[in-house]
């Protein structure tokens, strides 16, 4: 008895102390289709998927997999049954090779001794890569790979289990357009082989292109399932947010003033060269480029994290010597880093501590800190940025991604910088919070801050920027004004001036 569904999850309920993470949720995936799972952060997508792959067991509910009731004792069980997952947070073992990572825990080996058959390991990896048309050396160490290639290895690994159902959690969040295209090709061929895919994404553009159906969760509840093709962006956002979100980008006219910063011939060996640009008061300068184009590195250079080898930075016409973040902060520059958890947040500390740490000198009253003043400053930021937190003493780890990001922005605002470098400010943030952060960026520009915005999402770059600088392999390829910029023009420059071809 075969049903048309590969997976039927019904009435799934899961509670954690204090939170009902899932409340009678359902998810039905047809065989050989790509099913998008949508919802804001905290909607319950991850919990549902963790149940599916055996990391959690549900309190109530029923799971049918390929027509049979599924009972899992752990992740290994799920893999054996034919369910694998590409996690959003990559977890490579850096000092092992690509091949070793892919076949970790199931290396081809002699039964008795456990001695690994090295050649077969390589061959199997090579065959897998050939099938997926991936060009990565199986002998390379994971630590040598770019983030995009690491992601491709992770994808290959999930496929190598010959799963009947693959869960992909934001697989395109760290890869470039070219690899996205490649991934989609892989997904289509998997579909033809009858493999089903659950596809979690925040990128709406991908829905129509690659998915067949979508299911939306909100606050741990099932909202609905629709065919992807005739669901509009607005309908979807409404399902996810529970309220209508009009135009996300409503950019007010910019009031651009005098030049605040000019960067001249900045270079760091092997990372970027001859990067020059000007930044004006009240302006949002978008920086577009593919992964590895040196955008983040340029920001880190300006901010003194990894100072450039040569080149000059002028602030208000005066040469600024920036050799460390301290110098940059003294020049009233702020940097919102690309990776919140790695380089931004103090996860075990409170919201208040996270906000005030940068500026802690301001709150000193003699030997001690003026706690009232600190609290007041934080409370004000909380209100202005509409940060949702039970209190200032809440440990920041327990806030949603969007609210964490707002706290980090507040940290810089408390310092009142003139220049704000924003590196992927909305990565991994849900739609509602994204819109709020866009609004915030507009307001900051209106207040006269000069903003450099690095983003991998072209609609974001196009929607926010007054001017767009495009980089390719460490070089500045050109600048486009807001009026002349289009996705095609940016991509053309970002890929090195050649027309994009499949």
């Amino acid at each position: 008895m075969s049903s048309e569904f590969i997976l039927e999850m019904e009435q799934i309920t899961k509670e954690f102390p204090g939170v009902k993470a899932l409340d009678q949720v359902q998810l039905k995936v047809r065989k050989g289709t790509v099913h998008a799972l949508m919802g804001e952060n905290g909607a319950g997508k991850s919990t549902l998927m963790k149940i599916l792959i055996g990391m959690y067991s549900p309190d109530r509910g029923r799971i049918l997999f390929d027509g049979e009731e599924l009972k899992l004792g752990g992740v290994k069980d799920a893999l054996d049954k034919g369910i694998s997952m590409i996690h959003q947070e990559l977890s490579p073992i850096p000092n092992m090779t690509v091949a070793e990572n892919i076949f970790l825990g199931r290396e081809p080996s002699f039964r008795l001794t456990g001695w690994v058959k090295a050649r077969e390991l390589t061959d199997q990896t090579r065959r897998l890569f050939e099938r997926l048309e991936i060009e990565i050396d199986p002998h390379a160490r994971m630590s040598e790979l770019s983030i995009a290639n690491t992601q491709m290895v992770e994808i290959a690994k999930a496929i190598s289990y010959n799963a009947k159902l693959i869960v992909m959690d934001e697989p395109t969040s760290a890869i470039t357009e070219k690899e996205v295209f490649h991934l989609f090709r892989i997904i289509r061929s998997l579909k033809q082989e009858g493999v089903s895919i659950i596809y979690i994404t925040h990128k709406m553009d991908e829905l129509a292109e690659i998915t067949d159906e979508l299911t939306v969760l909100r606050d741990g509840k099932y909202i609905g399932t629709r065919p992807s093709l005739n669901t509009t962006r607005e309908q979807l956002i409404e399902m996810m947010v529970g309220r209508e979100v009009q135009q996300i980008f409503r950019k007010p006219p910019a009031q651009i003033g005098e030049t605040i910063m000019s960067v001249r011939q900045l270079a760091r060996r092997g990372k970027y060269e001859q990067v020059s640009f000007e930044l004006k008061k009240g302006e949002i300068l978008g920086v577009a480029g593919l992964m590895g184009s040196g955008r983040t590195e340029v920001l880190e250079g300006i901010f003194g994290v990894n100072p450039p080898d040569t080149g000059e930075i002028f602030i208000h016409g005066q040469k600024a010597l920036i050799r460390s973040p301290r110098d940059a902060i003294a020049h009233r520059i702020g940097l919102l880093t690309e990776d919140r958890k790695q380089t931004g947040l103090f996860l075990p500390l409170s919201v208040e501590d996270n906000m005030t740490i940068l500026n802690i000198d301001q709150y000193a009253k003699g030997v001690f800190l003026d706690e009232k003043k600190m609290e007041q400053a934080c409370r004000q930021q909380n209100e202005q940025l509409a940060i949702k937190t039970p209190g200032l003493k809440q440990i920041i780890k327990y806030l949603s991604g969007g609210n964490q990001q707002k706290v980090l922005i507040a940290r810089w605002l408390l310092h009142d910088p003139e220049i704000l470098l924003l590196d992927e400010p909305t990565r991994g943030i849900d739609v509602g919070a994204k819109a709020e952060i866009y609004q915030l960026i507009f307001e900051l520009a209106k207040k006269g801050k000069a903003i450099v915005l690095v983003s991998s999402e072209l609609p974001e770059i196009l929607g926010l920027s007054d001017r767009i600088m495009v980089m390719h392999e460490g070089r500045k390829m050109g600048e486009l004004s807001r009026e002349e910029a289009t996705q095609e023009k940016i991509m053309q420059l970002a890929t090195g001036g050649l027309t994009t071809s499949a």
Binding site: F16, P17, V305, P325, Q342, F346, L347, L349, D353, I357
Partner: protein, 333 residues
Amino acid sequence: MSSETTTVKKQERIANNSPLKVKSLAFLSRYGMLLILIALVILMSILSPTFFTASNLLNIVKQMSVVGIVAIGVTLVIITTGIDLSSGSVIALVSVVVASLAQPGGMPLFVPIIVGLGLGLLTGVINGTIISKGKIAPFIVTLGMMTAARGAALLYSGGRPIGNLSEPFKFIGQGQIFGIPFPILLFAFVGVITYLLLNKTKFGKRVYAIGGNEQAAMIAGIHIDRVKICIYGYAGLLSALAGIILTSRIASGQPTAGNMYELDAIAAAVIGGTSLSGGIGTIGGTIIGALVIGVMNNGLDLLNVSSYWQQILKGAIITAAVYLDSRKHNRRS
């Protein structure tokens, strides 16, 4: 009541998200070790009639004040994801040097004290400098210092204890003010000062920040090297203070003094909830941790439990404490 109904009740309690219940859970996780300490005290009082007497209780705190002071310094180090293995050896080095200077009819009292504290501070600053400037793992650097300081103590003393200390010097470890042993007062003083330092000053916030995320701290413009040097310096200073108290109490400078104290200090910090992964830890917790160890040592002594068994029990308790702590964090994340 059958165990089944209690389980059901438990589940209901977890499911019922009333603020009171969440609060009581938070209360438990926050004051759990304090409750365990109180339970231990009650248990020991029942088992041994001599346990719950003023003199015995004071004795416990006095006994623990040496390790407790070291543990307070180590707590700061661990909060920044570091470790200090050199404390015990620094105690020994300070002990013999101070003893040689605190002879009757010799120098005024402040000389050995200042020299001792300065020596401890120096070892700590050396640790901190090599760790932060040389980018070498704290475990290795302080392991080196542990070996070297012990060697220096043996070399300086010729491997023999140095006795015959001046009367005023003996007051530090043996004296009393209003009936309270002086070491306890010093322990309390260090606890209060460090608590204020850690919670009410810029420096404290930076310590937590570095432990919470060193890279983010760097981006936020914190002088990581300086803070680390200060922390290891402070830990060295407190080890020296502990060494002075110990020397005064046993009225002798011992090159073998303080052996394994670094591990007791780390245990106290960890039992008190300091996380080896950084960013988490309190002085109150560490003091409670030290007292838990002290009450156990003393109680088991009174009950005539062999010291071999005591060690096994202590090991089990340390591991159990860390296990409970990690469960607490996992459940909430």
